[in-house]
Amino acid sequence: MSSSSSSSQSPLRVKKVVVITTAMLTFIPFWKAAAIVLCDFGSSAFYAGGIAMRAFGPAFPWYILAVMLFAGLLLMLELEACSLFVRGGAYKIVREGLGDRMAKLAASALVFDFLLTGPISAVTAGHYLGGLVNSFLTQFGASFHLPEGGFAVVFGLLVTGYFWRQNVKGIEESSSKSAKIIAFSLAVCFLLAIWSFITIALQGAHIPPTQLDFAPGALGWAGKIDWMKAVGLLGMMMAFGHSILALSGIETLSQVYREIEYPKAQNLKKAALLIFIFALLFTGGLTFLSAVIIPPDLIASKYGDNLLSGLAMSMAGPGLLKLLMQTLVVVAGVVMLSGAVNTSLIGSNALMNRIAEDGILTDWFRKIHRKYGTTYHVIHLIAALQAVIIIVSGGNVYLLGEAYAFGVMWCFVLEAAAIIALRLKRRGEKRDFLFPLNIRYENFYIPVGLGLLSLFLLSIAVVNLFTKSIATVAGISFTVFLYAVFTLSERLNAKKANTMFEEGYRERVNAQTALDLKDALDDLSQPNRVLVAVKTPEHLYHLEETLRTVNPDDTDVIVLYSKPVENLLYRQDMRSAAVDEHELFTQVIFLAEKYGLPITPVMVQSNDAFYAIAQVAAVADAKEIIMGVSGLHGAQTQMERIVMAWGAVKERELKHPVKVRILWEGREISYGFTN
């Protein structure tokens, strides 16, 4: 068969071919997904230890290590959250589980933390770079030094400005670049670790103490409350709360989940394991080695803002070699921390977009850039606020660290509570992953482990309210302000009865007209092809069934929408049956993401969907044609028409049998074409 039919002028044949492309149909292996998360999450290794040291003294590496072990539990929480496949991360999970108000609170708190992760990362990168320049100046006997705080502010503004521009242009995060950054950082980590062990062997080691020595400011209001003594279990919880900022970026996993390739659930688990091991060794391990090798007073006086540079410069060995090691650390630090600045902008923009889709934000926030198609008002706003925070901080990483972690803690508290609520609400639903420690009662898994985790998270969040007074005041003020903005905007939208917001999430897709069907299907590369015909976003059972069972290693999946045009067919004007292809393909892409399988979406304009299906299947040399059942006509009538259309467009002998399947819940009818 061929596309160049003798009946190409026929009113029933395909009129126009459109190829749909989107960045979201490119799926990545688990290690690349892990690399994206680690570029953000791993970057806290460069500042968490120094901030914790200033807050509660030399016992800090134990707590950073504990937080990294705790990250394992939070990654499992994210695994269960991702297995629900509620697109939109923690905000949508909380909305599903606890309702709109709690979701708005979670989103407000999370935006506050996104506003801080950018500045804390950018300023820390500035400190590392400034510290390196000063090390060179010292090495070569210069009489002056850079003012590190001022330099960090300028560098932070430059990095934020650069990524603000990139985000306005809509340049996507590159998973390959992230993987290279993580590979380089891992090599630097390995070198640092080896050299650290040699240094310990030569110079001996001092095991960090476990007793806590809180700085007066680090106790916040707790210092004025008699019963809140920084000793025992309460003291440990206070120290843990001050170290929790090492978790910064862990929430990125829920953002990259949609990009992970098939088999999604297994790959997500592998990515989580890789993230956990890397974070434990990189952040936990290097922070611990820093405390073992660098004298505590030197950390406090010189390396509080660039701890890992301090580790490099405290090694046993010649000065130039140490300077080279510091250079490698700084390069790794600057690229990872800069990546975290980018992720904070991407994350906050994505979060604000999810909120806008729910009708909570006014048109102003959703305004699309004419040239780049990005929500540039949100990006401008976030970048401007981050720039103000950088300037106000004066380059003080500790101050930024003290303000941080309000949002991430409360967001995790709400997310854990929402997942518990969803266990109850969706109790019959099969999940790829359940947070451990459950008691099964009929089809309900009583979430004992999740309950304990929630209690622990809540305890730390409450303790932090007292001890991290800057975070509490700034976090609550900002959260209340943003919550008020959300509520007010939502009411304004409701008054305007703005139907735009009722559309829900729309995938950004490019639609390009192809010369003909052959041109549109040129990129198919697998030996087997399956054509799935779709009609409405609500009826995609057959597509999901196909994605669930297809072998992506040898099969291309073509998803075809035949948009009705022009003529009257079937005794009704088919134009009225046309759906918004944007909405349809958004749902199609959602399913492709759910299973992590690439698909080839194609839209054709035709007066007869069955002719279009037959024509596309013929040109694609498909072995299977899969359709959903029509409520209007029924499966048997559909099957009759597709076999007629197939016969009409067939122009040459088949190379292989072709099977037509019409699927609906638990049922199927099929027919096999031979010659």
Partner: protein
Amino acid sequence: MSVKEHKFNLGSLLSPAKILVEKESVTKTALIKKLIDAVCQGEPKLDGADILAQVLKREEGISTTLDTGLSIPHARLEEITDFKAALAVLPSPVQDPVNPNLSIKAMFLFLSPAKPVFFQKHLQILSSLAETFKPEFIDELIALGEPAQIFARLEGQR
């Protein structure tokens, strides 16, 4: 590797008496009625009016007219146990009432037993008809002009 050919023999469903060469101008419904009459000839158990109602009901669903000039009105009937058919060729094409852009130059009416076991063969017949009755073939049948010659040509399709 090419799949072995086993096309359905359409001639086995017909006889010269069940082939009409319709030279008069006629509507699609009237033509269907004529073909049903041809099928029912010598079949006292078949109720022509009931069959017409069922065929027309099926015509209200997805169209049975193809852009090749073939129309395949059909129905699946409880009261029959084997396939029955009649063919009309139209030297003066009839406009399809649903889609006026389509002209009907040949109409193959066929009736299938309603039992599920016959559904695959029912589909096979539809597919074979659509594949066989391409514009050139329909023009050839029209040119033959006589039921006996048309029947012989269809027999030769085997």
